[in-house]
Assembly symmetry: C2
Homo-oligomer: 121 residues x 2
């Protein structure tokens, strides 16, 4: 297996679509995913998986049922399994997610935004 280095900015430059997670690394059954987001996502939860969100650039809103977090560049949060959440961003925002490899972006939600097999880049 070849061990290489990669760069987050170069990876982000490889796609322009919104709400399409791309896998940039896999380890220990987990995946590191990046996405560009703009507008509203759907309310959903992941029954078995915690999910970390990290804002690389821009500003993201994370609505929970009892509070709303505003995440700016360098801010991160962990949404524990079972907790309903709804990400959104007024302007295009670049985010990174740490989560199990099999985590579905829309969790238990039904939506055309579901990406069943995120692309590895």
């Amino acid at each position: 297996m070849s061990i290489t280095k990669n760069n987050i900015r170069e990876k982000l430059d490889q796609f322009t679509s919104h709400w399409t997670p791309h896998i940039i690394a896999e380890l220990n059954g987990q995946a590191v995913k990046i996405a560009k987001i703009k507008g509203d996502f759907i309310w959903h939860k992941h029954d078995e998986e915690d999910e970390m969100f990290w804002v690389i650039k821009g500003c993201m809103k994370m609505e929970l049922r009892d509070q709303t977090l505003i995440l700016h560049e360098g801010d991160f949060t962990v949404i524990p399994k079972g907790i309903e959440h709804k990400p959104s961003a007024e302007n295009e925002t670049q985010i990174l997610m740490f989560e199990p490899k099999e985590t579905l972006n829309t969790g238990d939600g039904q939506s055309p935004l579901t990406v069943k097999n995120p692309q590895k880049i």
Copy 2:
């Protein structure tokens, strides 16, 4: 459980020591750790754990037995389990690691640099 947001820069400002990983998030049995590094670490490997390194600020050298990677800001790499590696940094460098919660910083190596219970910040 209260869900909060945190900031990577604020977390990095909370300590000055070198080669002392600090846990900033835990999820799915994994930990997100940050460290400030300067000088040489030891050769070691983790028999059961893959380890992701990401340079937040500065420049890190990652020696492997058959190659050397130079990681600048925004660069990342995954060192698969079982692979010997030796991190170092000429000048102080800030890094993030994503790995199983129980991963010992010095792996199978014997060193006074071992941190058995990384502080959560």
